[in-house]
Amino acid sequence: MIRLATAAVTAFAASVILVAAQTPGADPGAWTNDLSPIVASDWSYDRAAHLVERAGFGATPEEVARVAAMTPEQAVNALVSYEAIDDRDQPPFDESGIWDPGMDPFPPSRAEAVRIARERGEGLGEKVLPEGTQRRLQPVVDKFFYALTANNIETQRLGLWWANRMLTTKRPLEEKLTLFWHGHFATGQNKVRDYRKMLRQNQLFRRHAAGSFRDLLIGILKDPAMLAYLDNAENVKQHPNENFARELLELFTMGVGNYSERDIREGARAFTGWTHDVLEFKFEAGQHDFASKTFLGRTGNFNGEDVIDIILEQPVTAEFVAAKVYRYFVREDVAGSVRADLGRTFRDGGYRMKPLLTRIFLSRDFYSASSYATQIKTPVHLVVSTYRKLGARQVPTIPDFGRTTAGLGQALLDPPNVAGWAGGRTWITPSTLLQRGNVFRDVLFPDVGSFRPPDRSMSPTDERVGRRLAQGMSITDATREGDAESNVMVERDEDYNTRYGGYAGNLLAFKRTKLIPRHPAAINLTAMIASARAGTADQVVDHFIHRFLRVPLAAKDRAALVDFLRGKLGTSTVQPGAALEGALRELLYLVLSAPEYQLG
């Protein structure tokens, strides 16, 4: 029921005036690079909205109003000291149980799986068929592809579970930081191929999200997903592998230019023997180099932890990490003075995250014109925050969440490389900018009929194999293709058929992974504007701007939206009826496609 008319107009206008009255006289432009704290009289609805956007995933106007009613210290403290908030309503990840004991340790390639199986008569928990049987190794090859596909699906489910945490958590900063650490200590399922390791790493990030950086650093350097991702099993005394030490210094702690190639080589020696046994860290003393090392100007029989502590003694380390935190939460350009100052805060605080975060979130710089609404939302933030602002209680699965963000350049649990997502303006090309609007058309007008669930879809090649088999073709015929790869396969067809393995692996994975429930967004814009008491086209447009945009639209663009809605409604006033919801959705699609909506 739409309540309306002059009373509603007045109510809405009054709240606008209230907000304006709270906006302080201080010039936020002069606040740039000023790390001194804002005071209670600086606090406003817009600044509260800015805080919840950056330190979390945005919020509905009602939630922002609650934060705006606090003092800035209370608001920041509530976000940062989140352990006080009960999170037992968050369900643990519901594992399908795709893994059986014979699959560990998982071989790095199909060729290796086959080699092991030939040698031992079984592999991946599957027995090789008796001598003289056609395709004796097929069960092992099927199982290999099963594991890849099942892991892939399980990782999709894991990403969706995480997205639901981002949406529904009462500790938004915890999830925002977990995502930060995922980008900082970037590790990808593509290479790790084991969702269990990815889940444990995700839990590690969350456990230490706002804790001690030292604890997190040691944790991640002993984390099986990271050790696998950076090949540290190959880092042994006789042949040190520098990958791990290089990324530790360049990407995780100090930044390029602050150490020498020799430091990398010596540092790598300290981490020899750091490996993992499936899901546990393992130190192999026999592979560790116990001899003396010279690292960052110091000499001793350093082990991995010693090297970490030497790194943490460097002022540049605190500055590098603090600057990265700043770039994530505030803006791309970090002034030299800000970098040094925040570095001191971080180091003096014993690398604890909370003093650093509190300082940033209370600083005038954080609310200055240089910072306010000048970030480009990450794809994950763009999608999750939209659902939050719509008041959704679970992440819609039509369209598919993972496919949607991946299409915009960010797949959770699969960053592009160890440097993580470059972020900022690199998210935007003319093409991705259009797609960042298009995804909301898929949300607001979901195509339920022709939706294909990615967790139950095969590649075109696998599908073709399935079709041909269903037509009664033999495995050899069903998998034949006119290219070089298949000729190689035909030669091996006696022992196994790779293409059939891919198909069979899919089938088994579909059977043994839990299905992602599919539902479009539960959105009721009619109710939303009713409770906002927006009764005219102007008020509806203003409400959408207020709810979704951090900066005002140009007057001509706002007018175009009002005209658009008037045209859809055939009148200037909002009348309840079957056509209203559709008209509101068409309007909202425009608001969410505005260049201004990319700003967070």
Binding site: L251, I428, L433
Partner: protein, 277 residues
């Protein structure tokens, strides 16, 4: 895994592709020791252009740059079989001299590269071998930015193709650089020219009704504001409005007798390039 990126630089009306390269490279300061990657090539091309021995006869040609990003063993691709150091350094991995497809003194292709040999002998392929610079950075990320800017240890913010375009074309020339890829390469970042970047032409479109597209086109105009991020977004939005229909329709309408296969990847991207050309 190899990722493919393609960049075109449109050479305009007044100079040949080779002159363009030569002029552009000199324009961005070979005199100052830049850019290292193409110094030799650039000098050779410039000499050819000046001597009138360039084979270029079509001044409106388009330069297509293909970047294969990922791991490749360069020394086993173009094998320096004449260099004893190669065999000393690679007692196991080296391609034996008798297996090399020999094409130049001391150099040859890996035995699998028969097609390359043909192109080379027809004068359609040149190789710039053993590129590098003193005291190379072993950082993957620094190395990539040096590669894309053409300036090692420089911190140069603009890419070599972007600077080339800036040097050779007025700011109001449209679509001087087209970058096919999921994100914009540093190589095409310029001061004056905003590259047109897209991946799949079929997805380079605004969804919605004609009316919605019209309203959004109005909201997507480039503008000057006090918010530089918004300016950047509005400029990209206008670029998208101006180009997406053209690119998509051109690509969809393109017909070719060439079979690019169905595997996607480089072949699919080359078909897109051909369509745009």
């Amino acid at each position: 895994m190899t990722r493919t990126r393609l960049h075109h630089v449109r050479t305009g009306c007044s100079c040949s592709r080779r002159e363009f390269l030569a002029r552009g490279l000199y324009g961005i300061g070979v005199g100052a020791g830049l850019p290292f990657i193409l110094q030799q090539t650039s000098a050779a091309l410039a000499a050819q252009a000046l001597a009138g021995t360039s084979v270029e006869t079509h001044p409106n040609r388009i330069l297509v740059v293909i970047e294969l990003s990922g791991g490749n063993d360069g020394l086993n691709t173009v094998v320096p079989f004449g260099d004893a150091a190669y065999y000393r350094a690679r007692p196991m991995l080296a391609v034996r001299e008798r297996n090399v497809i020999q094409v130049a003194e001391g150099f040859g292709f890996h035995p699998s590269m028969v097609g390359f040999e043909r192109l080379y002998k027809d004068g359609l392929l040149a190789v710039v071998h053993g590129c590098g610079y003193d005291h190379p950075s072993l950082s993957h990320f620094s190395s990539m930015s040096y590669w894309h800017t053409g300036i090692p240890n420089g911190g140069e913010p603009l890419g070599w193709l972007g600077r080339l375009a800036d040097e050779a074309y007025r700011a109001d020339t449209r679509n001087v650089i087209v970058n096919l890829g999921p994100s914009q390469s540093l190589a095409v970042r310029g001061q004056k020219h905003s590259p047109l970047v897209f991946d799949d032409p079929a997805r380079f479109r605004r969804e919605g009704t004609d009316e919605q597209k019209r309203v959004l086109a109005g909201m997507s105009q480039a503008r000057s504001t006090t918010n530089p991020t918004l300016e950047f977004l509005a400029s990209a939005a206008q670029n998208a409005t101006d180009s997406s229909d053209f690119v998509r329709q051109t690509s969809a309408a393109y017909q070719t007798p060439v079979d690019y296969g169905s595997g996607g990847g480089l072949a699919a991207n080359l078909q897109r390039v051909a369509a745009l050309m």
